[in-house]
Symmetry: C2
Subunit: 221 residues, 2 copies
Amino acid sequence: MATSKPKPAKADAASPSSRVELKERTRLRLIEPALTLIGQGRGYSSLSLREITREAGVVPAAFYRHFRDLDELGLALVEMGGVTLRHLLREARRDGLSPTDMLRTSVLIYKRYVEERSLVFRFLAGERGGGSPVIRQAIRTEESHFASEMAQDLRALGTLPDLSSPALHMICGLVVTTMLNAASDILDLPKGRPKQEQELVDNFVHQFRVVFLGARFWRER
Amino acid sequence: MATSKPKPAKADAASPSSRVELKERTRLRLIEPALTLIGQGRGYSSLSLREITREAGVVPAAFYRHFRDLDELGLALVEMGGVTLRHLLREARRDGLSPTDMLRTSVLIYKRYVEERSLVFRFLAGERGGGSPVIRQAIRTEESHFASEMAQDLRALGTLPDLSSPALHMICGLVVTTMLNAASDILDLPKGRPKQEQELVDNFVHQFRVVFLGARFWRER
DNA sequence: TAGTCCAGTAAACATGTGTTCACTCGGATA
DNA sequence: TATCCGAGTGAACACATGTTTACTGGACTA
């Protein structure tokens, strides 16, 4: 039940006092409901400007103070997704990897990470393949950066030391697509079905095992 | 420029004479523009009933003679996608696989197949992860069937004979997601850039090599 | 041949849509 | 203190949307 709130917006939340501060605040207030709506199973391309502004508690015209059109809002979402991915890598880097069963623990950590940021990942997983070409392209770029960083990290860790850089990048690409695929599956998990959950995690772990097994035996040429 | 065509619809195309024949025909005439619009880079969830009927040369109300709502149309598209996938497997089965460089030739065949049915694959790749939960779920089911059939075929061919059935299925799942991912990439290839095209095919081939390499060395437990 | 059925029509409905415009009114600045 | 700037307002616009309703006319069938 989407309740309409004709509240005056200004008086909302903590008063930001500063002007740029206010602008940034409302910008976020526009981004947030967009993400929420997508999280509720709506395609990005089906969102309407009025719907978003309504949910943000702002008049439609105010939208244009922040974005030229919906696509620009979409790109902001992609940017946010990119930040989320980078943050994930940063955390992984910090934690290092436990020697035993590290693949499984990585998967579990990833699962948790996805669930805690379900909206962003729903957006990424959803718009990655479809919808508007411009944002699909943007997501692809973020993915590529993510893969590059991951390759770099693996290199630094001494994992798969025999692989050439292109080969490593190619494998990281495979890992990334598998991850985002899994994200979609994770988010669609019905709650309170630990068996199904377990199955999904296992499947995910096994797939990764296969990939890294293949990577270990990879020979150039 | 979407030209509106207020043509009387009845007089369109070859006169179907039979009544059920007519109904089936218009049903297809509704499905077709939906696919086309999606192929033009529109998310499924952004399609409107009126847009579709307009493009089909039919009055909006006529839509309800064929589908309860847009979701039902979407499911018809998924069904069509499923048929396309099954057909792909059937072809692969018929052709068998040449012993030399069979992975690369498979990829090239697949690429061609995707390009020739670009609309269906754009739909599958696009709605697989996002948009409406109901059609996302439906696509997932088709994918799973596809993976099962593929596993069965590999079994019959004697490929990877040491793998248990669950393991084989899990690997086919990985292959399928990789394929559909690649479909999206293939469809976004800018025309007349053979270098980029070559790169993508190579990357795709290598990823598959990694997967099958991993599969060969897979041990249960 | 008379009668039924039903795919497609035409019109109307209540809403929802993107975009524009002149406006206000409070923080920033000189 | 007086001025300016610009984030957010409110109203209006010209359409587009989903759905319903009574209808028409040709293919079927008894």
